[in-house]
Symmetry: C2
């Protein structure tokens, strides 16, 4: 396929709306769009935002080239005036958002765009594609890392998803703590460490397992990982140690009852003197299977399908909504639809993580900056009247939204690998603030409530 500009990663209706608004004279109304999700999937305690860095790049690159315009002209839907406008388009508004790697909860305003209607409306599709995909992977990946209790995890799901999604999935997995990826493109572009040694095809290529093992060790050294379940696991483990010696790096189990096998293989390795040889498990793992394997003598996991497909919840359901816009009176007005099951609150929101000491207690979402003082007054009054413990005096509001684009210009220009390292650090720090007990298992109630005023917040702290 030819190179695709980010501008065509767009739904047609963004452009028909733009054209109609231009003709009606409303296209230049100042507008505020927000990205948020109404809920978390059942059992999920939090979500992890990923893709922000990719969104900022996509906005910077959002230009219609000659080929795009030729195609759009051919659809017959857009007139020459609109096409000329698109040819010159670049986003000139502002973007604020949660840092990449940050946690989110229902109604967290993870990104806010301010500009004219025509400037911001067109970015909907590409912003949602990126944030929904990457956050879907990051949200389940974070649970897997918790379940793995410090044992290193390799992302290896590329073959189960679209070939370009595979790269973004590896990137998202690294942000939430995966140690490495099988995907070379993610290694090249994001400097995610690449890992992998061999598959069953390698063993089957040789006339015997022994020849295959000898060939792999000759090429990769005794520190390699040998795949031991092509024929008979026990025989393969004996053979592996016989050939590599006790310095053998690791053996990999990819089928069968991984828990029972790992106990047998650990005992066998130890009896052969290979006490430092690690055991890695792969094959249809997810956070629940990894949790069940917590007591098994395993030293690492390779996780694929369930990670890269979001563990049954491929997209967090992020939507991009017009929440505030200029009216005919020149003033800004909050707006929102009143559909039966999808009502939204208007106005551009401000968000804070409410902490006591270094522990998160609530997600605070206020309709505007002006409401912060009001919030503080309400909270203090409520807690004093309830004679709450003075612990709450250590309450701290960590601002979650940072400026990302101002007047169309990026506030900070990070190279791709730096973006990813910063997001990995952000995820680790924000996850620590939740102070979840790993023994509770992956599922549970939402970790902290989303509150919108001081009275609700006081209820949380009392």
């Amino acid at each position: 396929m030819d190179t695709v500009t980010s501008a065509l990663l767009t739904d047609l209706y963004e452009l028909t709306m733009l054209q109609a608004a231009r003709q009606a004279g409303t296209a230049s109304r100042r507008s505020v769009f927000e990205v948020f999700t109404r809920s978390l999937p059942e059992g999920r305690r939090y979500g992890v935002l990923a893709g922000t860095g990719r969104v900022l790049d996509a906005i910077a690159d959002f230009r219609f080239d000659e080929a795009d315009l030729r195609y759009l002209r051919r659809t017959g839907v857009l007139d020459e005036e609109t096409l000329a406008h698109l040819a010159d388009y670049r986003f000139t508004g502002d973007v604020h958002g949660y840092e990449e790697g940050e946690l989110f909860f229902p109604n967290s305003p993870v990104m806010r765009l301010e500009g004219t209607f025509e400037d911001a409306v067109m970015l909907e599709t590409v912003i949602l594609s990126i944030l929904n995909h990457d956050s879907g992977v990051a949200s389940v990946g974070s649970r897997m890392i918790t379940a793995a209790r410090g044992r290193p995890c390799i992302e290896m799901g590329g073959r189960r998803v679209h070939e370009d999604a595979a790269i973004a999935a590896a990137r998202a997995a690294y942000i939430v703590g995966f140690a490495s990826t099988s995907n070379l493109a993610a290694g090249a572009h994001y400097r995610v460490p690449a890992a992998g040694t061999s598959a069953h095809a390698f063993t089957l290529l040789f006339d015997s397992e022994e020849e295959a093992f000898r060939a792999q060790i000759a090429s990769q050294g005794v520190g390699t990982t040998l795949l031991v379940d092509t024929y008979d696991v026990d025989a393969a483990v004996r053979l592996a140690v016989e050939i590599a010696g006790p310095e053998l790096g690791a053996v990999r189990l990819d089928s069968g009852d991984l828990g029972a096998q790992s106990i047998r293989v650990r005992a066998l390795l130890d009896s052969l003197g290979a006490t430092s040889t690690r055991i890695t498990a792969t094959g249809d793992l997810d956070e629940f299977r990894v949790e069940e394997l917590a007591q098994a003598p395993l030293d690492g996991y390779g996780i694929g399908t369930r990670l890269v497909t979001g563990g049954g919840h491929p997209a967090p359901g992020f939507v991009y909504k017009l929440v505030e816009r200029e009216g005919a009176d020149g003033q800004m007005h909050p707006v929102g639809k009143r559909s039966q099951d999808k009502a939204t609150l208007g106005a551009g929101k401000r968000a804070f993580r409410m902490l006591v000491g270094d522990r998160a207690h609530a997600e605070l979402v206020l309709p505007g900056e002006a409401e912060i003082a009001e919030f503080q007054r309400e909270l203090t009054a409520e807690l004093i009247s309830a004679e709450a413990s003075p612990e709450w005096r250590r309450t701290n509001l960590r601002p979650l939204q940072v400026p990302m684009i101002r007047g169309g210009e990026p506030v900070q220009s990070l190279r791709a690998p730096q973006q990813v390292e910063a997001a990995r650090a952000r995820h680790a720090a924000s996850f620590a603030e939740l102070a979840l007990d790993v023994e509770d298992g992956p599922d549970g109630p939402i970790a902290i409530p989303t509150v919108t005023d001081g009275i609700e917040a006081a209820r949380v702290l009392r």
Copy 2:
């Protein structure tokens, strides 16, 4: 992100295996790799293969460029001899496969690569990424089209998946019968008709719904689709007909009880004289919801999330397995692992759809071409001895695998839009052969059994 060559859409272990095999002198052994899936998801009656055209393009483009080689050198895992080999790499083997759009069943050998081990092993990741993703979308999309009973469906899920996956998803949806897509890139690259008019943001941009409707009709004409659930559906429908007149193209419902609303809106439209105005439904639809809406007075559907994420089964579980390879004796040998839960049968397979008249009865998978005569003998003998009805004499074996690449050269070079039209025709024809009853609903047993000899086949026909 920089442009990615298809060669880096690869797992590292493909290259470490290649290097080890080269060093051991086995890399040039003739090898046969096959793509198949062991099972269908519970309830699925068939799968639809999509992505073949994209795979053929990826194989043709599979070259390591300078930047790729620099990155690979930096990993420190590959030696200069291997890097030099990769710099010159191009696939020189043969590919046979099911035509794009064809149906598949458990163990259908949908693609077969023949070449040296080192030629074919590296293509695993990109082949599986494409076939798993595209077939996941096509397989659920075909069910949605059946449930829609001829009412046109628009693919509009791009915002719920990775931005590039969105393009491939639109392509796959079109192959199985979707009428159009919201995605402009799919329109530009594959000539899938693009569709869409407006979102809630458009209505909210204006000071009143009336101004919004007037602006949309002024720009798009009375044939447009007006979104009527931003405030009050009934009021919006009245307003829409008042402004557009009875020539109004369509109204769209995007929330609430779509069935009940459509009945009310149909009656209202008819009472206003807008008897030819269509009603389109969108919002969290899948094949089951569409099935439930069969009796509702709806004229079309827009389907997003559940389509592009594979309806709960994002990937069909296609694997790429070495099934046959040259041994030290210079002869070809079937190979397969004997893992507890993933045992595979060796040998490159030949596949046929077994039809009686124009109706499919079985998927025939034979270990080689030579077995066809044997199959015919077994089948005939069994049926005659069982005194089966002479209907079976109309049995016809339609070959499913066609040559696609010979000696590294494409057998047929179709442009992207032609690929997609051919696949759409193939899907329609093969689906018709199943003769499924739409009244049975989407789920059921697998439509036809996979048989591997004449005795099994006779059991199906008796």
